[in-house]
Amino acid sequence: MKRLSGFVLFALACIATPFIFPDNYYVTVVGLTIFVNIILAVSLNLLMGYAGQISLGHAAFFGLGAYSSAILTIKYGVNPWAAMAAGALFVLVLSYVLARPILRLKGHYLAMATLGLGIIVHIFFVQADQLTGGPDGISGLPTLSLFGVPIDSDMKWYWVLCSYMLLSVLFSLNIADSRAGRALSAIHGSDIAAETMGINTSKVKSHIFVFSALMASVAGSLFAHQQNFVSPESFSFFFSIELVTMVVLGGLGSTFGAVIGAFLLSILPEVLIVFEDFEVLIFGAILIVIMIFLPEGLFVALRNKATMLLSRRLGES
């Protein structure tokens, strides 16, 4: 099982952390945000890193999942799991309908179109106040239960989000190393050659777009229940940009790159709080320095350096 050794180590680390640091704010509170961000970054990386299709509107699908859960459970009394499924179904249909026309665009035009999608959805959250509660959002979601056990503590949420996060990472790793993943990389490498090799590029692109949107939607539903509150702020254009930054910072096209990027971008603001007024400044400076010196992304650059050193060492002996 050499292929998944990295994943197993990562999973063990995630499981061990709450036992090593019990009742730690960074584990049980920040940890939950980190997990959600990892899921989103990993799902965005499928589209952006593997298939090379930029999306500046990923937060929209995250938000649609969250709002579907909030609206259906609170206003219509729907069972939380059914609401989550309904949200996912809605996102599936929406992303499927949008995929073909949007993904026909390339480069800057695709960036603009997805940006527009994100902004429109955000405006909807703010403006449709009858349904969405407007800028104030909606609070008071019912507690989610799993097999009869209510998920009502930070620690229980840790395990739920951790499981979904690990599942997303595993899916992403599996896809990367498969016929479907190679088709995505081929589209990234050369659209024309991919098509000439028999890959129906528009179909493959729209499938991964839908898949990635679905992952984000389910993450949104869980996030809404965990926070017990949804508001448009969490799903703005800025959050979409932050997700793109996570993927690029860690290393485009690498699942663990997305994981590291999401981890760093979630934990840095928390750690930098000690600098008070200079927090944002230092945060920005760190991002700039990483991108100047490690343009292929933190994780990818370090991994490449490590393999290079290793092969040199092996070559010498």
Binding site: N174, A186, T196
Partner: protein, 251 residues
């Protein structure tokens, strides 16, 4: 019956006639070369055959079936593969992964099955790897299989494109200037490789500027000039054709 039948094919780019009223047919299992001065429309012809862009007029039949304006991936499905003049290697992948993409049509695992990695996916993955290794070996690339494509020299990338195409088990292979930029030794190797490809039962359509290569290996040669058919026949007849000599040497 001919494997490929081109009838009155035409392509205009604005006012420019890149290909006009071109008709020819390619019998099965031969090396069929298309030559002509720069700008004669050779690469355009390949792009029309694989529908990278659609023709303005005329039609293309493959194995008795019309493929004009069919999406490129469906044309590939019918058994037509190609290499590119300006390389289109997947530089973000290793050599063997490039060739494994070539096996796309010979495997079938979908996105969901791959995500949960069903046993059938694992089995197919092994099979695909074996097929890719075979194609790499055929093209003499075995030792580079795990190297990133971006790090390979030009000559090997050209071969890699051939290996990728062969991995799809085509019946018709379109090769666009495979010898361009290769040195003499590499060209001789390529010569042998193209012959081997034909002998394995694949029809080769070759666009090439290297005349000695073309004359040596082709079974048939077609000469294009300004998008029109200038001559058509066995290599020896083409060499002696005064019109062809005039087109190349400028009267």
């Amino acid at each position: 019956m001919a494997l490929l039948d081109v009838k009155n094919l035409g392509k205009k780019f604005g006012g420019l006639k890149a290909i006009s009223d071109l008709s020819f047919s390619v019998p099965e299992n031969i090396i069929f070369s298309i030559i002509g001065p720069n700008g004669a429309g050779k690469t355009t012809l390949f792009n029309l055959l694989t529908n990278i862009y659609p023709p303005t007029s005329g039609s293309i039949f493959y194995n008795g079936r019309e493929i004009t304006r069919m999406p490129p991936y469906r044309i590939a499905r019918l058994g037509i593969s190609r290499t590119f003049q300006n390389l289109q290697v997947f530089l973000n992948m290793s050599a063997i992964e490039n060739v494994m993409v070539g096996c796309h049509l010979r495997s079938k695992s979908g996105l969901m099955a791959s995500a949960i990695r069903l046993p059938s996916v694992i089995r197919e993955e092994k099979e695909v790897r074996r097929m890719a290794e075979k194609a790499l070996e055929f093209c003499g690339l075995s030792e580079f299989s795990h190297k990133p494509a971006a790090g390979l020299p030009y000559g090997l990338l050209k071969k890699l494109e051939v290996a990728r195409s062969l991995a799809s088990k085509p019946r018709l292979l379109l090769m666009d200037e495979p010898a361009a930029g290769l040195n003499d030794t590499e060209t001789t190797e390529l010569c042998g490789l193209i012959r081997q490809i034909r002998d394995s039962g694949i029809t080769v359509l070759l666009v090439e500027h290297n005349m000695s290569l073309v004359m040596e290996i082709s079974d048939k040669v077609l000469v294009l000039n300004y998008g029109k058919l200038l001559a058509h026949g066995a290599p020896k007849d083409i060499q002696e054709n005064p019109e062809v000599v005039a087109a190349y040497l400028g009267e």
